[in-house]
């Protein structure tokens, strides 16, 4: 007992103050990509050619689909004009699929859930995670939210075992054919009102596994999604930020000192 107390005192209290205080992410962290179309050279298609998932489209104004982006470095390396770069902004969860398609302007971040949902679920949100054809990285970084540092429970959010006790699903993975049935059955088992959160490029678009005959390219068209969290895998902060926006715990855009700087 004394030993436990001693260890506890040395380990200390570790929960961050987020969202009141923002953590500083390392220089090399690849946050939300920023696209400066003004710098684009006429007719240059290098980035689109380099992109392994076809996330960049150049028909008309250049667009980058965050839902497909794997956050590799290919497009940035390929661009001869520096029109593409990664910021350190971890905020990129969106309420609508189309909000994930970035062009030069600001991104529309996730909004609070609809009022009737919010009245019921705003302060107590229990989620059932379903992993359906992922590489496991998204699951691990979702799980990280339960560790002492992020401590999801302080926001009234909790992951539960039984979908009957849940208010929504968190889906990761590209939805393998073999998990399709189980995913639907789990969704059916959740009492209404319920929400769906798609975490990671796989769940949004199939990610690295897109167009494999063994996957269904994400949850789009299978379940109605309330929150999209892009990334491959998303940083835990990105997921947390998205969930907190969903339950209205982050409303204003906080000033991101130093975070958005490259």
């Amino acid at each position: 007992m004394i030993r436990i107390l001693k260890t506890r005192l040395r380990q200390g209290h570790r929960t961050t103050k987020f969202p009141l205080e923002l953590p500083v992410l390392p220089d090399r962290y690849r946050g939300r990509p920023v696209l400066d179309a003004a710098k684009c050279a006429e007719g240059c298609r290098d980035c689109a050619a380099a992109c392994p998932t076809g996330a960049i489209t150049l028909n008309g104004a250049p667009k980058l689909d965050l839902g497909r982006c794997l956050f590799c470095t290919e497009c940035v390396d390929a661009c001869p004009d520096g029109a593409l770069r990664y910021s350190r902004d971890y905020r990129m969860a969106a309420s609508r699929r189309e909000d994930l398609v970035l062009s030069s302007g600001e991104m529309r971040l996730a909004q609070r859930m609809a009022d009737d949902l919010y009245r019921v679920l705003g302060r107590a949100l229990r989620l059932r995670e379903v992993c359906a054809g992922s590489c496991n990285a998204c699951d691990l970084d979702t799980n990280v939210l339960n560790t002492v540092g992020w401590d999801l429970s302080r926001f009234g959010i909790q992951f539960v075992a039984s979908p009957r006790h849940a208010d929504g699903l968190v889906v990761t993975g590209a939805i393998s054919r073999n998990m399709h049935h189980a995913l639907l059955e789990t969704y059916e088992a959740v009492p209404k009102p319920r929400i769906v959160v798609a975490v990671g490029a796989c769940a949004i678009s199939g990610g690295p596994f897109r167009d494999s005959p063994d996957v269904l390219n994400g949850v789009e068209g299978i379940l109605p999604v309330d929150l999209y969290v892009p990334g491959c895998p998303p940083h835990p902060l990105t997921i947390l930020d998205g969930l907190l926006r969903l339950i209205g715990r982050i409303r204003e855009e906080p000033a991101l000192h130093g975070v958005t700087q490259p």
């Binding site: 007992m1 436990i4 506890r8 380990q11 200390g12 209290h13 570790r14 929960t15 009245r119 019921v120 679920l121 302060r123 107590a124 229990r126 002492v148 401590d151 429970s153 302080r154 009234g156 909790q158 992951f159 539960v160 075992a161 039984s162 009957r164 006790h165 208010d167 059916e188 088992a189 959740v190 009492p191 209404k192 009102p193």
Partner: protein, 311 residues
Amino acid sequence: MTVLRAIGAVPEAVAVLALPPMLLSIIAKTKAWFGGRDGPPWLQPYYDLMKLLRKGVVYSRTTTWVFRAGPIVNLAALLCAATLIPVFSDDTLLGFGGDVILIAYLLALGRMLTVLAAMDTGSSFEGMGASREVTFGTMSEPALFLSFVVLALATKSLSLAEMLGAPLQAAWGDVAPAMLLVVAALLIVLLTETCRVPVDDPATHLELTMIHEVMVLDHSGPDFAYITYAAALKFLLLGSILVHAALPHASWALWIDAPLRVVELAVLAMLVGVIESSLARLRLQRVSLLLAGAFVLSGLAAVLTFYRTHA
């Protein structure tokens, strides 16, 4: 007269009914401190209940009316027991001679219907939880009754309010070691009946290891709210018995008694939190040994008390 008393008891009853989720919060906060985290907000158990009451329900096509009756009968039985168990003062709403037996059997009735509701789902998970619940319930019952024998001997009463009231104070002066053993046995019974570490782990989400949680996997919405609240209420009721047994004192005015008892209950909840933070769970097969231990403790207390009262 009785009408007046009943009206006077209303605020007290409301306070008793409002308290249980807070005790769970205290346990959660204690555990959060040991983990080095913030932990859920103080009012989280209340938020959870409110949400569940507003949620829809999903019923399995395997279930029957038994599944729906389970949570209701369980909560009704516990509320009924609440009218017999002294919480704030040494007085109870409807206590009478012989009510200890009724209290224990009301808890058993609640257990029976909860367990049957679990079996109604036709799933091996719920069956597993049901089997564990009745196994450990069966084994904790003799320890509980033997503790009651000791208290009855020491106080010459069969009404719980009296057994835990002023006469017990004298017993503590007389056979303190026996009372200490009874308190220890009651603590083990409390940990077992309310599914706490080292018997069960309320925090785990692993179906195969759970006892209570795995029985209620299929309940949702208001039904689940009843179950969640009933679990908290059970902790309060058994905790009250334990607190009264450990620290008996004569009834003063309610405004002194009530805050004092609340503090004592809070300390008990903290103690449970500390136990949960410093011990790993027992292997399931060893829980029966723990309960046998509780039985031996109360048996020892019985022998000591016999020695005193039958000298």
